[in-house]
């Protein structure tokens, strides 16, 4: 009964998406009101069927209906209710079903928000979105069917992957990731529509940028949440390992970040239209490549789903999407044209270009490192791993260069700069640069790259802060407003600009924190007997004993470790080894004592309650929590930039023609 209902809903979603896609394209080619109405209806229908299919699956998971193949695969009566709910995205088929839901929501919202605007573009966009929707519905209807029928349902199931139950971050990471990944479908559809129409005007670059930014915020959070999860759960003490699946989420982030910047040049100067469209297309294609990497079993990774038959299907879709994009680009990219000319000389314009090239270079570097082992495997039958050294060697200089550009770019004026302007723009921030580097040197930083990161970080931080508050200072000076009033006014009028600089400020902190945490940490591995004490840096650790903890879904042995720093007690940490219901192998969970300056990180290698011994990996990781904090700042900045300027503010604007774009340019 439930499996049949689920399968029917998926078939209906497939039907709605396929029909809607055809209607969308047809209406785009021959605009007519009836066609557009139907395209919209079918888009909503697709979203509704996907939502219902997801509800059906949740119902089956919560009622432990093991006649549904997916429930029999991941469900269990032994797990808490919240685990049953999030089991929806814990395994392959369910995650694609959830993907369908996210996609439905995005398509419905985008269709609804823009239904009355951009009449020539929107039918094409809906056509492209629903074509992508049709593919994922097809995946669910066939190769990744979650609603298979189990003729003789078992009484209980194995439960989801224990790693999912091990930490709450695993509950929120996938929804963020999917919201970031799937959300890229919307700008993809809009960019394709711009190509199909043959025009990319200022009116259309805005929705494109806004949807791109929405997904970018989610993706940024997802990448860092993934790193945070790895840090808190996997127990090796790091947060990023250049694993193929991590790279899969990083690649579209890089191109999306580049596109967000080049979109600004489209808006301001009418240049780089084709380039921006290429970046948006590449972003979506990289999300599909990422999906393939995570779900085909071709890449060896700690994060990937188990091997599955859906790899070939996704590959066919990837190939089709790649070739469609390529042919569309080749045919139409010239028709987008350009309304202006890019400045040459030293200017903010050129720094935008440099930034874009650096991001694209970064994308190629990571892509090459990810795919290279496969090339070697295919050509010579050798297995090899490119591994961290390559990625570190390539990404450190690129990251430092980006930091540099992030400081110099905003410091420079638009258009051509005079020598005098250059001097007054570039000299003052050297104070910030010197200050931060000096602090680093004083605290013992000797690594050249870390010092460079601090140097450029200080420069960029000063530029960012002064640019962020420039409109406030201007208002205070020219209009005589008080600080609070000027801040509020500048805020409401130049939101995008302010938000963008908040993102930059966050990014500076993230890069500095990564540089410091990866070069300034210390670690040791040690075997301790009960009552024994060890020290690492300023920390003393005493292994008090091992204890058994029973919970409904897991049994754990945990080590009670009392920690103190410079003789002052910091409490007790409990790194543990847990064995889950229905799972054989125990899973270690590290314990972390976090402070603003550094983390003390304990991970169990082995523990013996009877003999009273524990093998511990002890790490001191400086500044790690600033990565999480600064990412939140970045996301917040993105949100600030996304929220449209308040209506009251636009109404109060002196002239209706003075749009937010003009305000942004007022620097």
């Amino acid at each position: 009964m439930v499996p049949t209902l689920g399968r029917t809903l998926i078939l209906l979603a497939l039907l709605a998406a396929s029909a809607g896609s055809i209607v969308g394209f047809a209406t785009g080619a021959r605009p007519n009101a009836a066609g557009w109405k139907w395209a919209r209806r079918l888009a909503y229908a697709f979203a509704a069927f996907m939502a219902l299919a997801n509800l059906t699956m949740e119902y089956a998971l919560l009622t432990h209906d093991f006649s549904v193949s997916y429930v029999a695969h991941v469900g269990s009566r032994a797990v808490p209710t919240w685990v049953s709910i999030v089991s929806l995205w814990s395994s392959l088929e369910g995650s694609i079903l959830f993907w369908g839901l996210v996609m439905g929501v995005y398509v419905a919202v985008a269709t609804w928000r823009k239904a009355d605007e951009h009449p020539e573009y929107m039918p094409y966009a809906v056509g492209v979105w629903l074509a992508c929707g049709a593919f994922f519905s097809f995946l669910l209807a066939g190769p990744a069917q979650p609603f298979g029928t189990i003729p003789n349902p078992p009484l209980d199931g194995p439960g989801p992957n224990p790693l999912l139950q091990n930490h709450y971050l695993m509950v929120i990471h996938p929804p963020f990731l999917y919201s970031g990944y799937v959300g890229m479908t919307i700008p993809f559809g809009l960019a394709c529509a711009a190509l199909l129409v043959g025009r990319l005007g200022n009116d259309f670059i805005r929705p494109l940028r806004n949807f791109l930014l929405t997904s970018w915020i989610f993706l940024t959070c997802a990448i860092v949440l993934g790193g945070w999860w790895a840090y808190e759960v996997l127990g090796w003490g790091g947060y990023w390992a250049w694993d193929p699946v991590e790279n899969a989420s990083f690649l579209p982030w890089l191109t999306a970040t580049a596109a967000l910047h080049s979109a600004l040049l489209v808006e301001r100067k009418g240049v780089l239209k084709g380039w921006t469209v290429i970046l948006v297309l590449a972003t979506y294609l990289l999300t599909i490549l990422g999906t393939f990497m995570t779900r085909s079993g071709v890449f060896n990774s700690v994060h990937s789903f188990t091997q599955s038959a859906i790899g070939p299907t996704i590959l066919v879709f990837l190939a089709a999407a790649l070739l469609f994009s390529l042919v569309l680009l080749a045919l139409r990219v010239d028709s987008l044209g350009s309304d202006g000319r890019l400045e040459t000389g030293p200017s903010r314009d050129v720094m935008f270009l440099v930034q874009n090239l650096l991001f694209v270079l970064f994308t190629f570097t990571v892509l090459l490192g990810t795919v290279f082992p496969l090339v070697v495997e295919a050509l010579r039958g050798l297995q090899m791993s490119v591994g961290r050294p390559y990625f570190d060697k390539m990404s450190v200089p690129t990251g430092v260069a980006l930091l540099f550009v992030m400081g110099v770019g905003p410091a420079l004026p638009w258009g051509r700069a005079t020598r005098q302007q250059l001097r007054s723009a570039l000299l003052p921030p050297l104070v910030g640069a010197g200050a931060l580097a000096a602090v680093g040197l004083a605290l013992g930083v000797r690594n050249v790259w870390t010092l460079l990161a601090l140097l450029f970080g200080g420069f960029t931080a000063q530029v960012t802060l002064s640019e962020m508050f420039l409109p406030v200072r201007q208002r205070m000076r020219t209009r005589g407003e008080g600080l609070a009033e000027a801040f509020r006014q500048a805020q409401t009028r130049g939101r995008r600009r302010f938000g963008a600089y908040v993102v930059h400020a966050g990014a500076v902190v993230v890069i500095a924190a990564i540089a410091v945490s990866s070069t300034m940490g210390s670690s040791k591995e040690i075997q301790l007997n009960q009552g024994q004490t060890t020290t690492l840096g300023a920390y003393q650790l005493t292994f008090v004993g091992a204890e058994q903890v029973s919970e409904p879904h897991r049994e754990s042995v945990r080590a009670r470790v009392e920690i103190s720093k410079n003789g002052r007690s910091l409490g007790t940490l409990y790194p543990r080894m847990s064995t889950y219901e229905n799972q054989r192998e125990p899973i270690g969970s590290p314990a972390v004592h976090t402070s603003l300056t550094e983390d003390l990180y304990l991970s169990i290698h082995n523990i013996d309650g009877a003999a009273g011994t524990v093998g511990l990996l002890v790490l001191v990781n400086p500044m790690v929590c600033w990565i999480w904090i600064a990412t939140a700042i970045m996301a917040l900045g993105g949100l600030v930039a996304l929220v449209p300027p308040l209506r009251g503010a636009t109404a109060a604007a002196p002239a209706p023609g003075a749009s937010a774009i003009a305000m942004e340019g007022s620097s």
């Binding site: 785009g28 025009r199 084709g274 070939p312 080749a330 795919v371 495997e377």
Partner: protein, 188 residues
């Protein structure tokens, strides 16, 4: 609306060769590599030893006792697991191997200790239990003859003594079952 799309179709589509060629230069090799690797299990490594007779050895079990040689196991499928106590994935797969060895009575499971001390190994096995012998490979000669380059690596050997499959990384029970089935059948 009609005029603008009409205007576009009116201009004959000119193909931007540069974009097309540059795109193809990136896209086609990428697709070719992905297609070539499709269906490959990243855990099974194509070893030149697969299909060949397994290199012989004669090694003493952990904690002493009579040496065990591969020759003496002729006629039975054999699973040889190279492992070490310092290797986290080995720790993960240990339970699956012990349970499978108990369950698959007609298959001989053997552990070969890779670059580790006998004391630590003995302690590990006593703590976590085992159901099959682990052998000390003191000078690492057996590991070299099997071309082991990291642990865990597991070899599945048919009753004739030929290597049927080599698996890199931690095993689970399902994989053990299917690879043992291959070893029983003498490979593909």
């Amino acid at each position: 609306m009609a005029t603008s799309s009409g205007a576009v179709t009116a201009t004959a589509p000119r193909v931007n060769r540069k974009v097309l060629l540059a795109g193809l230069a990136i896209v086609l090799p990428l697709l070719a590599v992905l297609v070539a690797n499709l269906g490959r299990d990243p855990h099974t490594v194509r070893s030149p030893l697969v299909g060949r007779p397994a290199p012989p050895f004669r090694l003493v079990p952990v904690g002493g006792g009579t040496p065990i040689s591969l020759e003496s196991l002729h006629g039975k499928p054999v699973v040889i697991n190279f492992w070490a106590t310092w290797c986290v994935p080995c720790f993960q797969e240990h339970g699956a191997l012990v349970a499978s060895a108990r369950f698959l009575r007609d298959v001989q499971f053997l552990g070969i200790v890779y670059e580790d001390e006998e004391g630590k190994t003995d302690e590990f096995l006593r703590e976590r239990g085992t159901s099959y012998p682990s052998l000390m490979d003191k000078d690492g000669r057996t590991a070299i003859s099997y071309g082991v380059f990291g642990v865990p690596e597991t070899f599945f050997i048919d009753p004739e003594g030929r290597i049927v499959e080599k698996y890199v990384g931690p095993l689970d029970r399902g994989t053990i079952l299917s690879l043992v089935a291959q070893a029983r059948g003498g490979g593909r």
